[in-house]
Structure formats: structure tokens, C-alpha cells
Amino acid sequence: MLRNSLLFILILGLAAIMFSVFMDYTPKEKLGPVAEHYAKHGKDEVGAANLVTAVVVTYRGLDTLGEVSILFLSAAIIGFFLKVRHNGNEEDPKIKRYSEILGTGAKLLVPIIVLLGVYVFINGHLTPGGGFQGGAIIASAFVLMLIALPRPKINHKVLSIVESMSGLSYVIIGLLGVLLGLGFLDNQILSLGTFGTILSAGTVPIIYILVGLKVGTELTGIIVNLKEIQNEE
């Protein structure tokens, strides 16, 4: 009883602070100085049509590298906690009720969803999209495969090789920028090309392809780990 009333007073106090912040807020009229620089020179310096992609990959590239490493760390922690024993080819102890419509529909849909994910991260610098969105769509395709098919076979080695190689290539492209004298993760080591085509904006499409593959295989690895402990012990 005392605990509930103390909690209520705490929430009321926080609400009062937030209300005063809310009342003082005047909406913005024009862009600030940093955003003005991105708007004016983004097209010439980076060459990507999607300004959010230009900010995430080029102007704030180090933050994206940090985020990719945080995702890698969380996937490693989950893989460490849920120790799965791979003893050869293990069968499901009981085959769950297999529905023919769901299985056939899933076999038709999974390649199309993977194709949509690949489209989203290849065209990340021209239309809304990018590496993280495309990776999440690819992980959703693998989840559909795990749920609908009776005996899904997922190759763990291929998943871990793709993930490690993508992460390593991302850092190597960044170091190439230092070697060629421009700066870490600079995108002008390849030519900028014509505005609005796929092969434009330097290394931005290459970086987003690598990020998309890495995020997709990582999220798939987390969900496959969570599924494989369902039938143990």
C-alpha cells in the first residue's frame, strides 16, 4: 500500500516535469546548421539520393560500425547462454501436425521474401530502405521457414561464415580508406558515378550490402538458437 502510493507520487512528479517541457516547446521553423550542411552539400559530397543513408553510412559511419558490433556481441551472448548440442543429424522426436497448404505456400513464398529483402538493401541509397530493413526482412523469411515446414534444415556453418566474412569486409573497406589517404570509412575511394543509378555514391551500396547480409544472418542465428532448445531436456 505504501509502495503503491510512493510509486504514484514519483510518476506524478515526473509527469509534472515533462508537462513543463511540453508546454515550453516551440516547433522548429528552419533547419539547424548541421542539417543545413547535410542538405546543401550531401548531393555533391556523397552522391546518394537518400539523405538518411548518406548520414548513416558516411557522415556517421563510425556509429554504424559500433551498432554492428553491438549486434554481434548480443548474438554471441545468446549463443553462449543457450548451449545447443549438435550431435549429427538429429530428428524431431515428434513430428508436429503438418498442414499441406501452409507447407506448400511457405515453399513458394520464402524465395520471394528473400528477393524482396535483397532488393531493399541493394537500392538503399535511392529509395527508402537500407541494410537494417533488408536484413530484418530476410530474417522474417527464415522464421517462416522454421514455423511452416516439418523438418527445416538450416546449415549453421554457412550462416556463421557469411556473418564473419561480411563483418570482416566492412572493416577492411574502412581501412582501405585510411591506406589510400582519405580517412576511415570515406566513400570517395570509388568514383561517384551519375546521380540516381545503382552504381553511384562510391562505396555506399557495397557497405549497405555487407551490413544487410550481416544483420540478416545474425538475427536468423538468434532465432534458430531459440528454436533448437525447444525440444531438449
Binding site: 530502405g129 530484418a136 526482412i137 530474417a139
Partner: protein
């Protein structure tokens, strides 16, 4: 003018689903309500002129989070059956 009305209606629905998610006794309904909050937030991001963020929130916040919650809940129920 009509966009202000639409955003107010969406806000009321979102807050109602959040209250249901916190107060309900069953855990299954709470998980689905939290997925619903994320979905309506994705529509709100579209009204705020942010299509990239709307794509990401719909794919990750509303899809993958619900899957992970249900896998964990299933494993807890299996632990309970083994013990009984």
C-alpha cells in the same frame, strides 16, 4: 486539419493498447498488445515524414520481437510440464 484528427485517434488507440498490455492477467494478450503499439507507432512515423524509420519499426519492432517473446514463453511452458 484532418491529419491532426487522424493522429489524435491513433494516439488514443495506442495508449489504450499500452494500458491493456500492462494490466492484463494473461501474458499472451500482453505480448500481442505490445506488438500492436509498435505497429501504430510505425503509422505515426509515416505521418511525421520518416519512411526509413517506419520500415525499420514495422519489420523489427512489430515482427521479430513478437516471435522472440513467443519462443521464450513456449520454452517456459515446457519447463513447467517437465517438472509436473
Amino acid at each position: 486539419m484532418i491529419w491532426i484528427l487522424i493522429s489524435v485517434v491513433l494516439g488514443v488507440v495506442m495508449i489504450a493498447m499500452a494500458v491493456i498490455a500492462i494490466h492484463n492477467k494473461k501474458v499472451t494478450l500482453s505480448i500481442l498488445s505490445a506488438g500492436g503499439v509498435s505497429l501504430i507507432a510505425s503509422i505515426l512515423y509515416l505521418l511525421l515524414a520518416a519512411p526509413d524509420v517506419a520500415l525499420t519499426e514495422a519489420a523489427i519492432g512489430s515482427g521479430l520481437t513478437t516471435f522472440i517473446f513467443f519462443y521464450a514463453l513456449n520454452k517456459i511452458k515446457k519447463y513447467k510440464h517437465v517438472e509436473e
